[in-house]
């Protein structure tokens, strides 16, 4: 199903970092692949703006949670892309962010669907 741009939902503050780290858990990827992965996985509901993606990637790299390296897209090809991979510190950060996210989702769910008394 094609999602109209107006139907797309805004990412919650701070969730972009988590989505990037989670995507990189599958293996190294370049910026374009990360954006496409999130878009396809969410069936076009989430579309990461490039204006948000690249600053986030460089911020995460600066924090040492991901590491970027230029390498060819495939063996035998000369064309290179900047592939990011998750570092050990990034894996720990992802675990922390996932834990926070679950707590947040549960807290919101309690407000939205309160348990009926009696």
């Amino acid at each position: 199903m094609l999602i109209e741009p107006s139907d797309r939902i805004q990412l919650l503050q701070g969730t972009l970092d988590m989505l990037i780290l989670r995507t990189l858990l599958f293996g190294p990827a370049h910026g374009h692949q990360i954006a496409k992965h999130v878009q396809h996985t969410t069936e076009d509901l989430l579309q990461i703006e490039h204006g948000s993606l690249y600053p986030a990637l460089h911020r995460l790299e600066r924090k040492g949670w991901i590491a970027g390296r230029w390498q060819p897209a495939a063996k035998g090809l000369t064309r290179e892309f900047k592939y990011y991979r998750l570092t050990a510190a990034g894996k720990k950060q992802l675990a922390r962010e996932e834990s926070n996210w679950k707590r947040m989702a549960e807290a919101i769910a309690r407000v939205m669907r309160p348990v009926k008394e009696g």
Binding site: H30, H32, H50, G51, Y54, P55, A56, H58, W70, F81
Partner: protein, 174 residues
């Protein structure tokens, strides 16, 4: 630090370019012509200069770019104003004057008031009448923020000390 920034800038440009090319390639595979594919890819990426600026902020180097920009404007302003103040005869009615309050110029630039004199450049609807000096004054004013106020978060320390006073009305101070 400067060379590192240059290297990071080049790296970022290469990264954005390679990803735009890949996007264009995908658009071509979807049946678009090479020109349309390139256009669509560039549109998808939006303003790459802005993206680059946002990345620089993430690096923490954005203040260097701002400081260089401030310095360039200040140097040009000094250079163009050596000839003295623009003639009052060239002012137009309905303009307002940007005056430099020499007493408020920073002590870190001794002699700056001498270069500027009691400069009063004329403006019409925000456009300089005295093109050279006026334009740079306008730029400097833009960099410094609202005239007559101090902006705490822009430029270098020395630039922060600058102060510009705007006197509305057609008559400049004599």
């Amino acid at each position: 630090m400067y060379w590192r920034r240059e290297s990071l800038d080049a790296d970022l440009e290469r990264e954005l370019r390679s990803d735009i090319e890949l996007e264009a390639e995908e658009q071509r595979e979807n049946g678009l012509s090479p020109e349309a594919a390139r256009y669509t890819a560039e549109r998808a990426f939006g303003n790459t200069a802005l993206v680059a600026e946002q990345v620089r902020e993430a690096w923490g180097y954005a203040w260097i770019s701002q400081a260089f920009q401030d310095l360039r404007v200040a140097v040009r302003l000094l250079g163009r104003n050596r000839g003295g103040a623009p003639s009052p005869a060239r002012r137009r009615p309905g303009s307002f004057s940007v005056s430099t309050s020499t007493s408020a110029w920073p002590t870190v630039w001794p002699g700056l008031d001498r270069h500027l004199g009691s400069t009063q450049s004329s403006w019409v609807d925000g456009c300089p009448v005295e093109a050279s000096a006026g334009q740079d004054l306008h730029r400097l004013q833009t960099v410094l923020g609202t005239p007559g106020t101090r902006q705490p978060d822009i430029g270098t320390q020395s630039m922060r000390r600058l102060w510009l006073g705007v006197v509305p009305g057609s008559r400049a101070r004599g």
